[in-house]
């Protein structure tokens, strides 16, 4: 990829050098630096609102499944901040010396989301044949939390839910989209995702014994182009404007 880019640079250089044009004056009036934040899809609504007001930098948010963002970082993509829907991925990247020390900044609950007018009232109803179910794929945090829940349901019950599954989506927004479009009857998502649909979906809460610990980890990327702004952004997530935005969006405080 970097070679591809340099080809483009070479080509541009050749075009510019081909017949001396006006030397472009380099950018004047250095505006706020751009801070690139790779964030879990479930953070979309909360971070979009608070990041536009971040003082130190213009925040550019890139939302996808936490696992995909981690894979991009492993392939050499360097955002400034990596915020994931679990602590496992930031810790693994830290072990690989790709990100600095991760910190926990929020928690969430796993719920069963159903259309507002659905008759489904409990997770047990998903173990019967009939309702169609959408999950996150195993590699994305929402998918692995969901499989934790299914394992706690017990082998037979868990397998019965899996038999109703029609799609394994690459991130939690894929699950939400399939539900709001009426393509499926139920899906496992975070409580904050249901809140973000503005009443189109309803959350069916899981019994305490099934609820996994959903903790969000954030880390400054090693070699981040804007390390200072990146650190400030992490602080903002933990105790600043973005922390309040997360609270309003029905995220919980860091567990523990």
């Amino acid at each position: 990829m970097s070679r591809g880019v340099s080809v483009g640079v070479l080509l541009t250089a050749a075009l510019v050098a081909g017949c001396g044009g006006n030397g472009a004056s380099s950018g004047e009036a250095a505006a706020k630096p751009a801070l690139i934040v790779s964030a879990a899809a479930s953070l979309t609504e909360a971070l979009t609102s608070c990041s536009s007001q971040f003082d130190q930098a213009t925040v550019r948010l890139s939302f996808a499944g936490s696992d995909e963002l981690a894979a991009q970082i492993r392939q050499g993509v360097e955002p400034d901040v990596y915020a994931a829907a679990n602590t496992k991925l930031p810790e693994a990247l830290n072990q690989e010396r790709l990100v600095l020390e991760p910190r926990v900044f929020a928690s969430n609950d796993l719920v069963v989301a159903v259309p507002a007018d659905s008759e489904i009232r409990s997770v047990d109803q998903l173990t019967r044949p009939g309702p169609t179910v959408v999950l996150g794929s195993e590699s994305v945090p929402i998918g692995s939390y969901t499989r934790e829940v299914l394992a706690r349901l017990g082998d037979r019950q868990g397998a019965a839910v899996l038999a109703n599954v029609r799609s394994n989506e690459s991130d939690v927004k894929g699950v939400v989209g399939k539900l709001t479009q009426g393509a499926a009857d139920a899906g496992f998502v975070y409580a904050s995702d249901v809140d973000a649909t503005g009443g189109r979906l309803r959350a069916v809460r899981l019994p305490e014994r099934l609820q996994p610990t959903v903790a969000y980890g954030v880390a400054v990327v090693d070699g981040a182009p804007q390390p200072d702004a990146a650190r400030a952004y992490v602080e903002d997530l933990i105790s600043g404007r973005c922390a309040r935005a997360l609270e309003q969006a029905k995220f919980g405080p860091p567990p523990g």
């Binding site: 070679r3 080809v7 894979a71 794929s137 799609s167 394994n168 989209g177 399939k178 009426g182 393509a183």
Partner: protein
């Protein structure tokens, strides 16, 4: 700086740059995949189911496209009527639609909550999150490639020759099947190959409209996307298979049509 003979140099550099830029990523797919990893990932049942599903859905979609698209293209090529160019433009529209738009549009039209959702459900047909939905998505995005090429192929035939067939007593249906289709075959094959290539690579519309489930809706591009985060080598190996198949399609067309290949026949 003195500008002497700069233009030949510029076009040479432009071509060299384009060539390098376009071939390097494809070459990298093979340079980064070891033959062992390729064999490994192809023995994986998830990959095999994805390949089989892609083969099945693209074949069905192509059959639908050819059966409906050939007569439709023949009409467009042999008749002049009011609104013809408007119809051609509407048919070509999916060519330039972003795949994500195609997926959302299909949901809005034939999804469970879409315009025709209720009637489709009443008819007992399931499209969203089902294999049939993949076929619908592929047909939607790929058919304009075929119809456009087929129309050009029929349009390039000598109209006087078709008229002669009709005046010598052959019915129009017979003229179409016995004269026009055989004469236009190279163009039709090229159109079919273009549509096949587009259908095989379809990703966004399928993901949004049909979802992703192993063996049901997870075609090869979706399987590549699903595993790139956890198994980059496996994703590369599946990509290598798609490159080989796409290259084979391109080569087959070149052999049928000559070096002109996929170029739209001159009108």
């Amino acid at each position: 700086m003195i500008c002497r003979g700069w233009f030949p140099a510029l076009i040479t550099v432009a071509l060299a740059g384009a060539l390098l830029f376009l071939t390097l990523p494809v070459a990298a797919v093979f340079l980064e995949t070891s033959p062992a990893a390729l064999a490994d990932s192809l023995s994986d049942p998830v990959a095999q189911e994805a390949l089989w599903l892609s083969l099945k859905t693209t074949t069905i979609a192509l059959a639908i496209i050819v059966l409906a698209g050939t007569p439709a293209a023949y009409l467009l090529a042999t008749r002049r009527f009011r609104g013809r160019s408007a119809i051609v433009t509407l048919i070509e529209l999916p060519l330039v639609l972003p795949p994500a738009v195609a997926g959302i549009a299909l949901l809005a039209a034939v999804g469970p909550a879409g315009l025709l959702g209720q009637s489709i459900e009443d008819a007992g047909v399931e499209l969203a999150l089902a294999t049939a939905g993949v076929v619908v998505a592929l047909t939607f995005v790929a058919s304009p490639f075929y119809i456009r090429q087929a129309e050009a192929a029929f349009g390039a035939l000598d109209q006087a020759w078709l008229d002669a067939s009709r005046t010598s007593g052959a019915s129009e249906a017979r003229t179409f099947l016995r004269i026009a289709v055989p004469a236009a075959t190279p163009g039709l094959l090229a159109g079919g190959a273009l549509a096949l290539g587009r259908a095989l690579g379809e990703f966004g519309a399928t993901l949004i409209f049909a979802g992703s489930f192993q063996g049901i809706t997870q075609t090869v591009p979706l399987a590549i996307y699903d595993r790139f985060a956890t198994d980059f080598d496996g994703a590369l190996a599946l990509s290598a298979v798609l490159v080989v198949v796409s290259a084979a399609i391109l080569l087959a067309v070149k052999l049928v049509r000559g070096p002109d290949g996929l170029g739209v026949a001159a009108r």
